[in-house]
Each structure stands twice: as C-alpha cells, then as structure tokens.
Symmetry: C2
Subunit: 341 residues, 2 copies
Amino acid sequence: MSTGVNLKELAAELKLAPSTVSRALNDSYEISEATKKKVVFMAEKLNYQPNPFARSLRENKSKTIAVIMPERMSSFFAKVVDGIEEVTQQHGYHLLVYSTHEDVEREKKIVSLLMNGRADAIVMSVSSQTSDISHLAKLHERGFPLIFFDRICSEIPTTKFITNDYESSYEGTKHLIQQGCRKIAFLMLSKELSITKERYRGYLDALQAAGLSPTPSLQVTCAHDEEKNIEAIRAMLTSEDRPDGLFSSVEKLALATYHAVKRTDIKIPQDLKIISFFSNLSIAGLLTPSLTTITQPTFEIGEECAKLLMKKLTKPRQPDLPNQVISIPSKIIIRSSTIAV
Amino acid sequence: MSTGVNLKELAAELKLAPSTVSRALNDSYEISEATKKKVVFMAEKLNYQPNPFARSLRENKSKTIAVIMPERMSSFFAKVVDGIEEVTQQHGYHLLVYSTHEDVEREKKIVSLLMNGRADAIVMSVSSQTSDISHLAKLHERGFPLIFFDRICSEIPTTKFITNDYESSYEGTKHLIQQGCRKIAFLMLSKELSITKERYRGYLDALQAAGLSPTPSLQVTCAHDEEKNIEAIRAMLTSEDRPDGLFSSVEKLALATYHAVKRTDIKIPQDLKIISFFSNLSIAGLLTPSLTTITQPTFEIGEECAKLLMKKLTKPRQPDLPNQVISIPSKIIIRSSTIAV
DNA sequence: TTGTAGGCGTTATCAA
DNA sequence: TTGATAACGCCTACAA
C-alpha cells in the first residue's frame, strides 16, 4: 500500500546511486550542495516517502511510543495523552494507544505484544487489578524504556510522574474539616493502587492531625461496575453511621456519589460536603452544587513524560531513566460542594 | 531494543534452518508435527517474538490502523475508539491514535505522515475546519483504505458510518415542539460538517412540518473556544428574540448551554427546553435538570468500522470499500430538560 | 520434510 | 564527492 516511489526508483530517475540519494536526503556532509538540491527537488516531485519499516528494521527503532491506560473515557487520561502527543509529535513520533479496561490480563497481553520492538518506549498507568507486576518488571529488566504516571509501580526502578497525592489529599481533607466535617468518608478504587495508598495516607494523617479517627464503615472500596458503586455509596451515605463529609480519590467516584445522593434526600453541602480529585473542570462547575476539586495537572504530566522520553530516545547514549518520582502539584479549587452552612 | 532472540538464533538453537523454523511457527503443512512441537516449545522457552518491522517490510502491511479524530476529550470519540479497539485487537491489529484538535492543518500533516504505509488503513472523523478535502481525496485515489465515521466526507467514494442524523434531529425537534416549544434555537459547530448539515436539515424539516419557521438569530454557529461559545449562547438566550427551546447538535454545546443558563435566571425546562446529541449518559443524568438526549450508538459505530476494515484487510483480494453510507440509529432518551410544565 | 538463496527498502561501511 | 555492497529479520520460491 506504500504509494509513492522508493529510494531505488528515485535514484534511477536521478541517475545516482541509492546510497547517494539516501545521504543527500539525510543531509550528509559528504554530499555536494548541488546534488542535494537536485535530490530533494526530485524527491518532492515524485512524492518520495521513506518506508518506515525498512528504516525501523535497519535502525532498530520505531519512532513510536506506546501509551497504556486503564480507560479511555476519562478526562484525566484523555488530557494526559493530549500532553504526550503534543511533545512527541514535534519529534516525529507516533502514538500507539491501548486501554486495559482495568483488566490486568489485558494489560499483560498488551505488554507482551509490545516486547518485540513495535514501540520504543511505554508510558503507562497500571490497571486497578495490577498487583502482580512481573510483566512490568520483566519489561524493565530487559532495558525497555518504561515510564509510569499517576498509577505507578514503586517497585520498578524507573521514572514516575505523579501529582502531589499525599499533600493534596491532606489539604483536601483538612479543608473538609475546616468546613465543619467530623465524619469523613473515603472512596477509593483498588487498595493496590499507588494513588489510593498515597491519597488515603494524606486523608488519614489530616484526620489524625485534627484529632479525628476514621470510621471503618465509611471507607469504601469500589470496583468497575458503576451501578454497584452507586449502590454501595448510597448504602454508606444512608447508613446508621452516615458521614458529613466525603473525600473521593478519583473522578468517577465523585460522579457516582452525585448519582447516589440523587437517590436519597441528602443535601449537598448542608448534610454532606464533597471534595474529589477531578480533572474535568467544565463538568465540575455544572454539577449541582458545583464540586470542589483537586485539579490535577493532566496535560503537564503528559508533556513531562514525553519530554523525558524524547530526551532519552533522540539523543545518543543516554543513561537509563533514573529511578525517581517526579511530582507536579495539583490545585484545590473550592466550589459549592464544600461551603459551610 | 528488541529483547528476545531472532529467527536465526532460534534456528541455531534447534539445529534447524531458519526457513524450517519460520514455517513451523506459521503452522505450514510442509512441516512434520514433531518438528512443529519442538520449534514451538523452544520459541516459547526463548521467548521468541517475530520482529514486526521485518515482517511488515516483507509483507507490505503493518497490522496497524490509524484513527484520526478531532478531539480526545469527548465521550463520543473515546467510546468509538473503544469499539474499534475491541474488534481490531482480536485480529492482532494495533491502533495509532491522533487528535487534530479541530485543526485542518494538523489533519493534513497527520494524513501526509500516514501515506508511507505506517498504517494499513485510516478511520477518521474530519475536523470542523475541513472544507478543502484534497488531502483526503488523494489518499483515497491512491487506493489507501479509508473509512469515515460521524463527520464524513460525502464526496469521497468510500464507506461511511453515521447515526441517523436527519431522522434523530427531526424526531428530537418534533419532541420539543410537542412539549410546547415554538421558538427553537439550533446550536452547531462549523456549517461545513456533514453532521451539521444533516442535523440542521432534520431540525428545519420538523419546524416546517409543524408550520414553524426558524428564527435567524437563534441559529448559532460555535467555534473551538468554550468561553466564547458560552457567551454567544448566553447572549442569544437573553436576546429580544429569546427561544423557548434549544436543539444542540453536539454534546459540548449542550454543556456550554448549561453553563450559559447558569449565568442567567432562565429556568430549564420552564423557560427553555433542551435536547442534545449526547453520549455521556452518566453526565446527562447528573445535569440539573437531567438532559434529554439523542444517544448515539458510539461503541457500535466503532465496532462496525473495525469489522468492515478487518474483513477487507485480513482476507485476500477483497474489493474496495464500497461507496455507501451506513446508518446506525440513535435513541432519544427523555429526561427532565424537556418536560412540559 | 527440510535446506538454500534472494529480496522487501533502508543506511552504513568501504572502496573508488 | 559518489558508488557498490552488506546487513537489519523475515518469508517464500526453488532445490534437495
């Protein structure tokens, strides 16, 4: 399906050797300006496009980055990918994008499919089911460039980009307490997730600093089924031990909470104050009442992942990606869901 | 960065010729069962992964599909891509995903980057700026498999998947009229877009059938800047000629309308009834009041695009993609924003 | 049933 | 400054 001419044909047209034409197109110092001009002109005229596979085979690199994320329909992940694309596109890289649908088996399959060199690096956020990380460890051990963002694997010694999960959660919880909350629920995805652990830690420490202690029945672990999540949250909100505040560690659970509240006669913020990690700002403002958010630097996280990768991949003899966690701060935006009444 | 062994090394380990090993792995009838077993066993043991570029170079196909869409942060496009991925993954295809950000120049650049065979086909929805379609026409003329969905190019003789834009808009407008609306606004993106044209036609015909005529000042063409859109809508909603109903032809403009309404003292549905093409069902139910939607078969559109493509690409000597428009119906889901009061 | 050889389109090495 | 040649890893005639 390659449509234009190839190097050999272009060379024949120019009555030059393929190697000469190749060098001319790659702006080699060995080639005279006159020849370069002729070659470039003819290449444009015949619409010559180098075959990417021949090049990849030869150079052993694909100019392609793989992005693996747990779901596509999420403003957070969509914006991160936008950030990645913004940077990689400038360097002529392409993006293979995969969704695991929070399924670790799919994650493993995708990773194994990428071990053959189809991509030069992987940028990923692990599924909520991922506790066995052998597939990722193997990848890294073999020297495959791997970067984590948001939902990271601390055990794997590579670079990870996150937001300041602990501090933001601490501040967010503190905000709820300042607004008068005493019994604060915590909503999370799998406890295995790095973001769950850090955000939970921030929440617990803020409670403790205020002399409060967490109520076990108000710590709700959610799963992938939205309806079940809504029901579990509704049950919790209407239980004996009902909360007066709620901290949601991810966007989708804040939405589930609004759905759950709709099924009760609970009033936000009078009866229940809500704060959540959230990146869809337009929606946050439209919810009723508008939602106080911990707004993540989504686009920037994507950009930073990509910048680091581009540095590593486009310059010769770069060292391995350093084992470090880089944190980009979130911003708390106070809206109506946490107003004291 | 290719990590495992290659065919030659695998063959050496087995004391067989590379060609024999290749055939064994491809389950050729010429190879004895015993040899096949040995080869497959050793391949797994040494974690042999065929080099995709060598294969692509040889077979002149990439096992990769490119998806080009106007924006990533859209439930509609995200779900379509999920649908595409669901099908293509089963056939061992990978997805290169690009966002044009509604910018036709970016669209052209991406398309030109894909003319070299990096992808075996393109599935796309054009940008709202796309009126000159020469870049797409060229692609198709060269025999490159190209499928459109949603925002299509009728001029290009290939297969397009859409929802029943005209009928749904007709029915949606009729619904507003039945609920008592007499002055119905219409919100659209660029008038160049196929979906704008069809949806507008359905709207106009429904008005006419009811003996109503469109008010020019209530036909609002929006752009990419959300804040400007909100202001334009607000101005229209509070003008002399203010509407009592509103038809939004795309999801983002319904959200902009809710934002605009928040800046006025207009009450939905009392003063203004709203219906919109919309695919984020969870959000539609959370808006206040909940939004009556024309719910598109997003996932299915993606699946159908991919099924057709897989048929064309995985079977030998398939004909060109037929010049036809395949329509998959939307469903109108009535919620509170159009309740008669 | 298995082995040998050539070529897919590039780029790099070596020679002229 | 340019040209000939080999090699990247795979698959497939053709030969044995």
